[in-house]
Amino acid sequence: MKAAIVVFPGTNRERDMAIALRRVTGHMPRMVWHHETDLTGLDLVVLAGGFSYGDYLRCGAMAAHSPVMTEIRSFAQKGGHILGVCNGFQILTEAGLLPGALLRNANLRFLSQDCHLRVERADTPFTHKWKKGDVFRAPMAHGDGNYTADQNTLDRLDGEGLVAFRYAAPNGQVVAEETASNPNGSVNSIAGILSENTRICGMMPHPEDLVDPLMGGVDGLPLFEGLVEALVR
């Protein structure tokens, strides 16, 4: 799998993501500066977490207009796989590559804690190492992770099975009204979604920060192992 991580000014989880990718591929991913416009030969493009452009406008709004985004759109049109985590998810929604938007967390505070995610479908390149209904732990670290979308979009996400992950209790129970299991207040507890062709995935929590027993677990590893298996050439 040939992977690249896009680095915008203010991206700050590119190193974490590189560690996770290196763990499953055995080599460092390519780092792509946001002025670059060549994404040829890549199987996976990752938009990592951080505060692109300081998030001084809406989170991800500036990065969505960065030069590299033109190439990313064309990469997506050609069926390329894209993973956006945290700020990367926000950028994908701002760029219109995924529907919906991320609002301030419901409690209006930055949230840095572990959450549990329930896998909603297991037949995508991002989720096939899990079974539907599996629950895994992931650190969250964001101020604006409160997913929202209009009713039509939510109906479509549900109807077409485009929700990848929902915030859940450790036993898998999903109760959107409960802050214990749905800390940022996301509508329908949505933590991660997929594009219609399931080749673009955006999620708020950080599977890349739980890929080593030393750091507290390997709950996030199946996502990366699954990508390598699905995108091997």
Partner: protein
Amino acid sequence: MKKTVDESLAREFGLTAEEYARVVSIMGRTPSLTELGVFSVMWSEHCSYKSSRKWLRTLPTTAPWVIHGPGENAGVVDIGQGYAAIFKMESHNHPSFIEPYQGAATGVGGILRDVFTMGARPIANLNALRFGNPETPRTRQIIDGVVRGIGGYGNCVGVPTVGGEINFHPAYDGNPLVNAMTVGLARKDRIFLSAAAGVGNPVVYVGSRTGRDGIHGATMSSAEFDENALAKRPTVQVGDPFIEKLLIEACLELMATDAIVAIQDMGAAGLTSSAVEMAGKGGVGIELDLDAVPQREPGMTAYEMMLSESQERMLMVLKPDRTDVARKIFEKWELDFAIIGHLTETGHIVVKHKGQVEADIPLDPLADQAPVYDRPASQPVVPEPLGPVHAPLSLDEMLIKLIGSPDLASRAWVWNQYDSTVGGQTVRRPGAADAAIVKIEDTSLALAITTDCTPRYCHADPKTGGAQAVAEAWRNITATGARPLAVTDNLNFGNPEKPEIMGQFIAAIEGMGDACRALDFPVVSGNVSLYNETRQPDGSTLAILPTPAIGGLGVLDDVEKAIGLGMQDGKAVVLIGETRGELGQSIWLREILGREDGPPPPVDLAAEKRNGDFVRKEILNGTVSACHDISDGGIMVAVAEMVMATGTGCELESPDSGIRPEAFWFGEDQARYLVCVENAADFCAKAAEAGVPARVIGHSGGNELILPSGVTISAARLVSAHEAFFPALMTR
């Protein structure tokens, strides 16, 4: 706007009549406004350490692993495998009272720059915070702003905030303490220093533009607060963590080349102190052309530019043929880059603006003739012994009350607003071990980092308190299995012109020095914050508790051997160290009996070393599966914290010690640890051989804490009592 320079203006700038006379004698004439500004900030307490320098010199600062001690931007120690850890702690107390969010945020930004200016990538932030009475709305407002500020800055720059401490006391009502610590990592042969060299070499300004913010911030931080403190808001700087993140990346990229001769951040006293210190250390002169300084607003004067404390700025001396390489890097990161001067052989700092010489000051006397005071000090009063005290409640009632009290309650509400995992190297997050543990990527190494101080001990007996702060930091590092290496100190005290405050300061340093020497734990960097006092409406002043905060750093050669404090199932719980039941100045005494008296627990440094070295050795041997140092709240609170960390319970045995139960369980005797071990008999025999007191006090298992009386408290109930305080306080 045109001000006449005279003694009265000098006084307004914080200089005494004698100091102003010395300025005039050095200059041989009346100084210009800009020159007076330069002298006043360089000679402020904040920059000159004029009250503290004599005593700071008594601290031990060397060890075979110390690469750079005090005098550089931060301390540097060798951690093995070719790497160095670079670290420092610094206060932002005064700004954080005036404007809590920006005060705390720029405190984080400033300490980050002190570390990355030496070539290190920042890998961990910690912060030691002291707030006033939590019952007052102003305290809650300050907590909210400070926590948001630390998070807002640290989260954005992508440096994990992995630990710290919080205390409450009414003595901090008008003067909270915000002490921020950063630890960075560099190759030990790639460390950058600030001494300028090479006459003719260009002086380069990078980072944010200069505005009018923070003018005279250093002077403001060198005076006590009066009722008009909040009117000083314009002296507080405004931070931009996004620019800081770019500055970190750009500087590290430049540092990978050979372009830099010297580099220093513009911190307190901004362009003035960075230019003066770089040239002074290098024994050269420096000429600045302020027309070239990137400016945020039009019409700034030389005085304003030299004294601005605008954030996220660095000053560098580059090799002349490498300026283009450097310029390209800063252009890539979209940061300002300007050649604003050059080094000279005059030995003067010359500041030009709009064709005029605005300042021309000889550097040697500016540094050498800076005032140093041996201020009168009175011997601290030795506290009366604590008479007999009796528990008014049952053990379980007292435990529940203590673990929910402001100083012991869970800090999760605070930590959960700080990104503690970014970087992907956080082995133990806040609360999981006595020290935060951060791995060094691509090595087997990890750093153990902690901040400690018990201000109520320091207030009762500054010398013992100073020693205790160092010992507790050493113990917290030891309890993870790491080898303690060195400390940074942040000495927060009241007005040094008062003999009793100066007495506290001197005694605390004496205690710290004793402990640092006994534990082979030298001071490699630090910061002094004096004048932490607030004038009351009745004219009296309220000083903070003396608070010499210690930031300790240790190393684990093999990160796999690190352990946490969470109770492990099916083990014997062994108490290490001697217990006499010291309740003087204890949390128990304050929270249960409402008293703050008696002497603090004595610190026996030989016992600290012996017990700690034994514990560390056993952790590294693999015989210990959990370890927690015993501090505030004594054995009982330590056991409860271990139980809460994992949810695994513990059945405690009757002490049979000849000590009253409340003194045994809640006494705060030092040099003690609790450990989980498999084979207690073997372990205690080894301890006896090493001359280390050890006894089994309980066995782990189940999910309840079972007291010797048979009363049981579920782990869940402990957790809910522990976690209630902060959310309840902050949602009032």
